[in-house]
Subunit: 468 residues, 2 copies
Amino acid sequence: METLETLAATLGPRNCLTAPDDLAPYAVDWRGVWTGMPRAVLRPGSVEEVQAAVRACVAEGLSIVPAGGRTGLCGGAVVPANGPPSVVMSLERLNRIRDVDARDFSLVAEAGCIIQNVQQAAAAVDRLFPLSWGAQGSAMVGGALSTNAGGIRTLRWGNARDLVLGLEVVLPDGRVLNDLRRVRKDNSGYALRHLFLGGEGTLGVITAAALRLVPALKRVETAMVAVPSPDAALTLFSRVMESGAEVIAFELLIGRCMDIVQKNGIGLRVPLPLGSPWYVMVELAAAHPSVPLREMLEDTLATAAEAGEVTDAVLVENEQQRANLWRIREDWPDCARREAPVVNTDTSVPVSAVPRFLAEVEAALSSRWPEGRLIAIGHAGDGNIHVSLMAPNGTSREDWVARAREAEPIVNAIAVDLGGSFSAEHGIGQSKRHAMATHKDPVALDLMRAVKAAIDPAGAMNPGKVLP
Amino acid sequence: METLETLAATLGPRNCLTAPDDLAPYAVDWRGVWTGMPRAVLRPGSVEEVQAAVRACVAEGLSIVPAGGRTGLCGGAVVPANGPPSVVMSLERLNRIRDVDARDFSLVAEAGCIIQNVQQAAAAVDRLFPLSWGAQGSAMVGGALSTNAGGIRTLRWGNARDLVLGLEVVLPDGRVLNDLRRVRKDNSGYALRHLFLGGEGTLGVITAAALRLVPALKRVETAMVAVPSPDAALTLFSRVMESGAEVIAFELLIGRCMDIVQKNGIGLRVPLPLGSPWYVMVELAAAHPSVPLREMLEDTLATAAEAGEVTDAVLVENEQQRANLWRIREDWPDCARREAPVVNTDTSVPVSAVPRFLAEVEAALSSRWPEGRLIAIGHAGDGNIHVSLMAPNGTSREDWVARAREAEPIVNAIAVDLGGSFSAEHGIGQSKRHAMATHKDPVALDLMRAVKAAIDPAGAMNPGKVLP
């Protein structure tokens, strides 16, 4: 194909991969669920090379699938199996941190920077880049922003979207949208960057971003708390929010999770007695060691215990204990995998609707799959509880998915009925397009299609993703 | 005109105004700078009436100028003088607070709710709606969101955009975009609401919004501080941010402002000796009275004084003193008006670039207008300093505008060169369209035009605003 020869000449043959062995790693997502073979993998090394590659591909009718760390859960960075001829455009070589400015509480990072490296660059100047989730050691800036990544700290600092001051984007026509400004107030026309943030690469290729930093944390207090019900957890949530401390995480876990972690976690021990129906993990933080965070947490939990919202609690005593506690959360997917197959969901509801959501989900799932085990673990402070239906021990993944596949649309429908979302933090990619067709307001879908057609009239950017 | 008769039948004659006396208040902005006569003023009382009115107007080629409290500074809610035949659509009757949910930290307000009423509804359930600025007693939700209003507390809680969880919008084709959900995480396709937030009514009519609340403030500490230079102020800013307290305001004022306030403010007294070249107003807050906020502020200021960043400081002792202190900031426009005419700007730069911005502005303005007085007062923590050039005493407004009009583009160009914005918080409306043409990235302008054409192909919504 002549285009690929031209691209090989422009990018260098090592950055225009076409050999099957070179393509293979880019032809499957990290969970091994989504596969699709690109015609080539392009690895541009500069914004100009991204522009040249986009122009060449569009001119020849090749679609472009932008890719970063490729840790997404919805197949967004993989060529669709029956889609048009496509290349994967990996941003991995655009990995410079262009600027760090402590006094401005900002840094400018290219799309291929690994999130953990951004965190370290911030820490080096006594600042925090607060975006944090399990895949941060592999995920890259471009992917995190294109999927509007969430995680455990969004309660305090928002999703990826909220941490972006400015963007640089290569558009489908090869031009650069240069909005890489580090301004906190800018009302000069439409907020175009919010289309590309969460746009999953369907409108253009993010090449760099100006990111917001906050003061480094100098004191952190973490507790694991046993609570009698989701309703008690929600009352505790208001109480903690009113404690005067900065609440940076508030996670809710169904009691069953602890048994599964205790049984399957390698070297993991739950620091509270098992047997509570629900647990909460709460973390407070401050930018200065003088903030009496421990007293604030102890006072809050003591009052909550008197009110019957808390039945037991343990505060971590040192960094080692804190790391162990968060491993319960981080190692959960592995522990679950060792236990039995699950059908997963990614919904959110208004925070105050979490108890009703969980009650309705439990009723709906247990009546249809009495043998299934309800799993609920998630970001209660955001209303984003990940509900799963876990198979009885000894069931194969294939069997369970065939039998319980319908659990996902049922949970989605309950969330949407409560004013929630069927895709809270993972995005749409390929895996949630059916839910977009079912649940999204048709007016919103029409508007999205109009925006897509206006910005990418040829439909060259990441086809077969997001829009149903 | 037949359309107007139909509309009078639909909305009721009292809500389809056509008499010159009834139109007059809507034909001029509150500063009296922008004027334009509508064919009618429509005051729909429900979302359905908004839909019917939009459809009827578009069908007859009447343009629609949405209006709320009409406190904007850029002429966005006024019919353009030489524009197409237009109606003003006032949302003032859509003024219900539909829902308040303390546990969800949210409320749902219609577009015509006055901001102060929203604040009071939040306070009634021990919550805070943090958006706050001088016009809050008249400004309405729809206008605040359409202009992405800022103010003094954006440092901690962001601009209007950041306080919106969901929106309800009547589109130019009369359909409703129903995205009025109270979810904090939602990655189901493009973030359409961000087009209407800050869209200044050029893409549709916002009819209601789900707004984010935060815990009510239970302790506030405020100080007025004399600093030797903007650079010292910026060092103090980092220090305060690292104090562990929540910093909810950090305002910088050139010393000259204090003399003018002292001279022209009715009953206003500056609580520090005059004569410092610069002053800072800093406010810390906490959601619980146990947070040792005063000690944190005192310790921070003491360390800053030792380091030479602070030459004098006064902490307020009670609510009366706090109110008096903030009156300096709020009454500033009146005090300035009594002193002499000014040419105003509304720029922002990266926070760390504020000292250089002010130095370059002073050099540029003083060399061309040695008789002018540089005014600088604004939100240093956001990089949004409002710079003005004040006339010598005894100059008429007409003379000064004729002589010093060029000060605005000069200041704008300096801000843009430093990576900033020529319109930080007031928006574009009619008054900044020339700056859009001069300073905005042409690629961004093309994209904005494409988005506008996709959503409002007839160009019926608020013509002659935002886009040059």
